[in-house]
């Protein structure tokens, strides 16, 4: 069938294939205070946020570079008044637009504005299927009811709906109910995403990490539902690294597919990378997105050249890219080591020890807040 598109002349290989996705963390402001929030412990204050003009320039540069999808997130992206304008600009540039929201402020007006702007997809996050627990975890009374209403608005606008449930030890037993709820709302897609232990999640790990038995139960429920709902609803499932034998391919490899921009404009290979010391991450106020992509910080752990053993000679090195640099730093103090989630890491026992703590009673949450002491 190759007659239709004759193979093009072999191109001069570019420095690195262009990014697939841009993650635009528009703000760290959020009406909720989830104790596992993926934002850094030191939240960007509102005064440091990028102005609209810079975001618009970045979006234009992204389209020109070949970014295919943009994910507007935060914090709560709806806290930015210019959200619809940014969506419009991205959609006009041919980029697939996605918003990741807690939904509590997605009222009729906001929904209509986003729809007019050409939004392609909205992901709505829930803290639990039990309304009381949902509201307790988010630290926001009445959040569940508002999210439920937001789901109806998204449906009403004729948009595809993804529900995201964040799983931790207090709700791991309710995955079946979460999936039934998603079915009831006829969601196209549901994410059953165990907490990832960075930022606030790491701070609250003892209060959140499920036991291995809890994890296995949730995995079984998901697998059965996937079988039953094949072709009807896509279920994405994300597990915590702590009970795993091999790490995840974090972000598809350091600076291989994504650029993440923090509210203040720092360009990062992933949202957690801001916590890494010894990096001079470029700021999109000063440089173009193309310069970001070829910057020293982005090249440092790209590919396999940086790898120590056991990764260097491992046949999975281009599958998981040695796991997560931020986890290596958070647990081992060195971002250039094999992710300790890997059983082959000599320090894997540190993850296993933490996993064993999940059997102990859960301490209280430290809620995500601006100005909480960072220790």
């Amino acid at each position: 069938m190759s007659k239709i598109f004759p193979p093009p002349a072999p191109p001069v290989p570019p420095p690195h294939p262009p990014p697939m996705g841009l993650i635009a963390e528009l703000t760290h402001r959020c009406p909720l205070q989830c104790p596992y929030c993926s934002n850094p412990l030191a939240l960007d204050p509102v005064a440091s946020e990028l102005p609209s003009e810079v975001w618009l320039r970045v979006i234009d540069e992204a389209a020109a570079m070949g970014v295919l999808q943009i994910h507007f997130t935060g914090g709560e992206p709806l806290a930015r008044r210019d959200l619809a304008g940014l969506v419009y600009r991205a959609a006009k540039g041919g980029i697939y637009t996605n918003i990741i929201t807690s939904g509590v402020t997605l009222d009729d007006r906001a929904m209509a504005a986003l729809k007019d702007a050409g939004i392609d997809h909205i992901q709505l996050s829930f803290q639990d299927i039990d309304p009381t627990e949902n509201d307790r975890i988010g630290g926001y009374k009445g959040a569940f009811a508002k999210k439920r209403a937001a789901a109806d608005r998204i449906r009403g606008a004729g948009l595809p709906l993804t529900l995201n449930f964040v799983i931790q030890r207090h709700n791991a037993g309710r995955v079946a109910e979460m999936l039934a709820f998603a079915e009831l709302l006829q969601a196209e897609r549901v994410e059953i995403a165990h907490v990832q232990y960075y930022g606030w999640g790491l701070k609250n790990r003892a209060a959140l990490l499920p036991t291995r038995a809890q994890l296995e139960d949730s995995t079984n429920v998901v697998e059965a539902a996937r079988e039953r709902l094949r072709g009807k609803m896509v279920i994405d499932y994300v597990v915590p690294d702590y009970h795993a034998a091999r790490p995840k391919s974090c972000m598809g490899g350091w600076a291989q597919r994504f650029i993440n921009i923090s509210p203040a404009g720092k360009a990062l290979p992933c949202h957690a990378a801001e916590s890494l010391p010894g990096f001079d991450f470029p700021n999109v106020r000063d440089v173009s997105l193309a310069q970001v992509w070829e910057s020293e910080a982005f090249r440092r752990y790209r590919g396999t050249g940086w790898m120590p053993e056991p990764c260097r000679s491992c046949d999975r090195r281009e599958l998981d890219w040695g796991g997560c640099r931020c986890q290596a730093f958070a647990i081992l103090g060195d971002a250039g080591l094999t992710d300790p989630a890997c059983e082959l890491s000599p320090q894997h026992y540190l993850m296993a020890e933490a996993a064993a703590e999940s059997a102990a009673p859960a301490p209280a949450f430290v809620y995500r807040r601006l100005g909480v002491l960072v220790s």
Binding site: K3, I4, D120, G231, D236
Partner: protein
């Protein structure tokens, strides 16, 4: 030799899943399927099929069009594209 399709399978009308879009990317000089927090880089054969998915053509009609285009027997094409469509369906790209 892949087996022939049932009548119901031939008559199935594939359409794109909600939020799924097929678009040509100038930068990569390739077709891409973009959807809710996922994207696919379909191979040449899948692209030919996806370009004919419009929510009105049946699997048989798609196969007939391709048969004409590539001067191949429609039945063989049907048998080829059915597993491909099922795979795309399992991933949410199309609905069958």
């Amino acid at each position: 030799m892949p087996s022939a399709l049932s009548e119901a399978e031939s008559a199935a009308v594939p359409r794109f899943g909600a939020g799924m879009k097929l678009r040509f990317d100038q930068v990569r000089d390739a077709w891409v399927v973009l959807g809710p927090e996922r994207l696919f880089l379909p191979d040449e054969h899948a692209v030919e099929v996806l370009k004919l998915v419009d929510g009105t053509r049946s699997v048989a009609a798609i196969a007939a069009t391709l048969a004409e285009k590539f001067a191949a027997p429609a039945a063989a094409i049907e048998a080829d594209i059915w597993p491909m469509l099922q795979d795309l369906s399992a991933r949410g790209a199309v609905r069958l």
